[in-house]
């Protein structure tokens, strides 16, 4: 889009990254991590080991120590500082998960919790007056798999299937010190096979342009899922103080990469990919939630979002449009629809009117015709009568004339007779 330009000297915007660095340190960082797994898999211990702090202690016992009847979702916030960088870490744990006899729907409170965090963020993002938008969305979910050595349990598969499109899921093999390296290899292969079979999308490490980094990423990918061991105790091994688990047959060191994948997890989760986990949550999972939510609202005007976790196919028409733009579009469509309706109604109306007017004209013509007919009839009768009268009057006057003539004749003859009689006497 822009023209490439070469600089003839030092300008100074190469300091931008430093400016960004400075500002981010000043702002501080937030991260929310969710841990899910049956009780006794070492979740709390792992968290303590990851963050080298007693998040869970006697005063604040971990989830497995709190006996719950149903699945709860609880969070604890801690503020930790290192090298001038402040991190507000929220750990969300789910005591009671998978511990009941009947675990149907035990993932539902977890899904609800994730959605409610998305909802909170969506609401605060959509306010008219926006201020600080605290980000309490779940950035990563560590899912603990029991080290059976065989494969995934149905609950594992159910859970991951339902959550992989809502949150970054990182499956871990817990208490990996109960598996030998070969058993672990097999177990991992089996798990990955099953994950692929069920089309579960676990968190993917992004490819970079850097060769070196890509090599590391490939190495990590080959070791998935990571098999971890956690420990709260520090033991001395060969003069070094390490975190580990003391057994009669030796010490399983947490940070020894030959013993388990803990360091890989820690490096990946905290040192290299923490920001990416946040970005994927923001750009992918949250956006999915948001677009589903808004599409449901605007398409039907009611909350059609009953089928959580399912993408509605109604999205095609509203893709790429803000809900307000969509309303505008609908308004325009409605205007054309109204115009069409109006035109149709007009047409029907005109037609009906024409019909009626025509009928009226017809009956008018008909009546006129009849009237003319009658008039003609009458005139004919009139004429006939006139004619008759004339004939009659002619006849009468003729007869009368004749009568008068005869009368005259008779009068004349009578007079003659009279006179003759008179004359005879002479």
């Amino acid at each position: 889009m822009g023209q490439q330009k070469n600089l003839d000297g030092y300008v100074g915007f190469a300091s931008l990254p430093n400016q960004v660095y400075r500002k981010s340190v000043k702002r501080g960082f937030e991260f929310t991590l969710m841990v899910v797994g049956e009780s006794g898999l070492g979740k709390s211990t792992l968290i303590n080991s990851l963050f080298l702090t007693d998040l869970y202690s006697a005063e604040y016992p971990g989830p497995s120590h709190r006996i719950k009847k149903t699945v709860q979702v609880e969070q604890s916030k801690v503020l930790i500082k290192e090298g001038g960088v402040q991190l507000l870490l929220t750990i969300v744990d789910t005591p009671g998960f998978g511990d009941a006899v009947d675990n149907s729907n035990c993932w539902q409170p977890i899904i609800d919790h994730i959605d409610s965090k998305f909802e909170d963020y969506l609401n605060s993002e959509s306010r008219v007056n926006r201020r600080q938008m605290p980000d309490s969305r779940i950035h990563c979910c560590l899912y603990f798999i029991a080290p059976s050595g065989h494969g995934l349990k149905p609950l594992d598969i159910e859970f991951m299937k339902r959550l992989h499109e809502k949150v970054n899921v990182i499956p871990l093999i817990a208490k990996a010190d109960t598996l030998t390296p070969e058993e672990c290899q097999q177990f991992k292969k089996q798990i990955m096979r099953e994950i692929q079979e069920h089309k579960i999308k676990i968190y993917e490490f992004p490819e970079t342009d850097d060769e070196e980094e890509n090599r590391l990423v490939k190495k990590i990918k080959d070791k998935l899922p990571l098999a971890v061991v956690g420990s709260n105790t520090i033991i001395e091994v060969n003069g070094k103080r390490v975190r580990g688990r003391q057994y009669p047959w030796g010490v399983a060191e947490v940070e020894n990469s030959d013993h388990c994948d803990f360091t890989i997890l820690r490096d990946m989760l905290i040192r290299t990919h923490m920001q990416d986990l946040k970005d994927v949550t923001n750009n992918v999972h949250y956006e999915n939630y948001r677009s589903r939510k808004l599409a449901a609202v605007t398409y039907n005007g009611v909350d059609n979002n009953k089928a959580k976790g399912q993408l509605s196919t109604n999205m095609d028409t509203v893709e790429g449009m803000s809900p307000l733009a969509q309303m505008e579009e609908e308004r325009r469509e409605h205007v054309t629809k109204m115009k069409k309706m109006e035109m149709e109604m007009e047409q029907v109306f005109e037609m009906k009117v024409k019909e009626k007017v025509q009928k009226l004209k017809d009956s008018e013509a008909e009546l006129q015709r009849r009237h003319e007919q009658m008039k003609k009839n009458l005139e004919a009768q009139h004429k006939e009568l006139e004619e008759k009268r004339r004939v009659f009057e002619d006849e009468r006057s003729n007869w009368e004339l004749q009568q008068r003539l005869e009368q005259q004749k008779m009068e004349a003859s009578r007079t003659l007779e009279k006179n003759k009689k008179k004359g005879k006497i002479f």
Binding site: G2, Q3, Q4, K5, L7, D8, G12, A14, L16, Q19, Y21, R22, S24, V25, K26, L50, T53, D54, E59, Q72, E74, S76, K77, I80, E82, G83, V85, L87, H113, S116, E119, L122, V128, T208, I270, R271, M274, Q275, N283, E287, S291, V297, T298, G301, V302, D303, P323, L324, Q326, M327, R331, M341, V353, V357, L367, K375, L378, L385, R389, R396
Partner: protein, 419 residues
């Protein structure tokens, strides 16, 4: 939603914990930085100033490159904005730089509306961003941000005070964009005049309530330098892309018969200060301010204009969904009402016309009733006449008959008499 427990974990209080070793999250800023470097940066500069005041030259000088620019004429009908985007790179940092020039500013006889195209341009960029943000399917993280991060306002070096056009324009812009006022072509003002000029300008800005950008002093790393720079505003700058040999160095400068004005000499002009503040220290802050303050203000006004509120009449907070639903209900109700209205209008029209036609029909029948009656009358008359005629004919026939009997009788009498 799961109920929160009533034990130590239910409170949201943060605990401060100390770490037992190096965890490694101090690399977070680096992670963030490496992500933003991969994404690349973008920066948008708006240059407002009269034609020929040195905007293009200053840009070339600041960024050490020749941006293509034809010289603008003085005869533009109005002000229009010309954005140009360039891809620059320095070490591993990619910068997408957009320079927006105001062509024709200050050239018209009537300059009342000069500020409008500028305000419109700034608002349009905000609007585009807002639209993207409101989309259902959006991609904000790779959106090319065109919002103006900084407005360099070029003040003509009169040495006296601000022009009224300057005050009006800056007042219109100060709530929409970060403004840094600069005195252009500062090599035409002497040091003492400059000092007075700067004071005059700043006091005029203050007395007119114009908010210019203040270099931030809340971060200890840069607060000192920023504070001192704030005191040098407005920066008096000289731009030049020509190189002149001074001593044994070649520097960018303007050669006059009486001497050489060196651009990067801090005792000659404030160019270095401007570059330092604008690019090397506060570029990120300018971007942040644009997003967090100016854009938020625009967005808030826009949403309020459209009728969105954060709380309903009972002061209960609205969720986004409720707001949209309410809007939508209103909208659908509106549409429905319009439809009803139209239907009603038609029903009325039909009724009217029906009544009209009925009236016509009635009239027609009346007319024909009348004609019928007339006709009846005529018929009756004819009948009468016929009757008359018949009577006359009958009378005549009777006469005829009577006459004939009578005429035959007298002959008989005579005959009798003869005998």
């Amino acid at each position: 939603m799961a109920a929160t427990d009533v034990d130590v974990f239910s409170n949201e209080e943060k605990r401060n914990l100390s770490l037992g070793g190096h965890v490694g999250f101090d690399s977070l800023p680096d992670q963030l930085v490496s992500k933003s470097v991969t994404q690349g940066f973008c920066f948008n500069i708006l240059c407002v100033g009269e034609t020929g005041i040195g905007k293009s030259t200053l840009m070339n000088t600041l960024f050490n490159t020749m941006f293509e620019n034809e010289e603008a004429s003085h005869y533009q009908n109005g002000v229009y904005l010309r954005p140009r985007t360039y891809d620059l790179q320095e070490s591993n940092v990619h910068l997408k730089l957009t320079i927006v020039d105001t062509v024709g500013f200050g050239d018209q006889i009537n300059k009342e509306d000069s500020y409008k195209p500028i305000v419109d341009y700034i608002d349009t960029q905000f609007e585009n961003y807002l639209q993207e943000e409101l989309k259902i399917k959006r991609s904000l993280f790779n959106y090319h941000d065109t919002r103006i991060h900084i407005c360099l306002y070029f003040i003509a070096p009169t040495g006296h005070s601000l022009k009224s056009l300057d005050l009006v324009t800056m007042k219109k812009l100060d709530s929409k964009v970060n403004i840094i006022p600069i005195i252009a072509k500062a090599d035409t003002i002497s040091k003492s005049e400059l000092h007075k000029f700067k004071i005059k300008i700043m006091s005029e800005l203050v007395s007119n309530g114009v908010q210019i950008y203040q270099f931030p002093t809340d971060d200890e790393a840069v607060s000192e330098i920023n504070a001192s720079m704030n005191a040098h505003l407005p920066f008096a700058v000289v731009g030049s892309v020509e190189e002149v040999k001074v001593g044994n160095k070649t520097v960018r400068a303007r050669q006059y018969p009486w001497g050489v004005v060196q651009v990067e000499n801090e005792s000659h002009c404030d160019f270095v200060k401007l570059r330092e503040m604008l690019i090397r220290v506060n570029m990120e802050d300018l971007r942040e301010q644009t997003h967090a303050r100016h854009y938020e203000l625009y967005r808030r006004c826009k949403l309020e204009e459209m009728g969105f509120k954060d709380t309903d009449p009972d002061s209960q907070p609205f969720s986004l969904q409720e707001t949209y639903e309410a809007k939508r209900k209103e909208f659908l109700g509106d549409l429905q009402r319009k439809e009803e209205e139209m239907r009603q209008m038609f029903v009325n029209k039909v009724k009217e016309t029906e009544a009209e036609l009925k009236e016509k029909e009635r009239e027609l029948h009346e007319k024909f009733e009348q004609l019928k009656r007339m006709h009846q009358d005529e018929k009756r008359k004819v009948e009468e006449k016929r009757k008359e005629l018949e009577d006359e004919m009958n009378a005549f026939n009777r006469r005829k008959v009577a006459c004939e009997t009578l005429s035959s009788q007298p002959l008989k009498k005579d005959k009798d008499k003869k005998n």
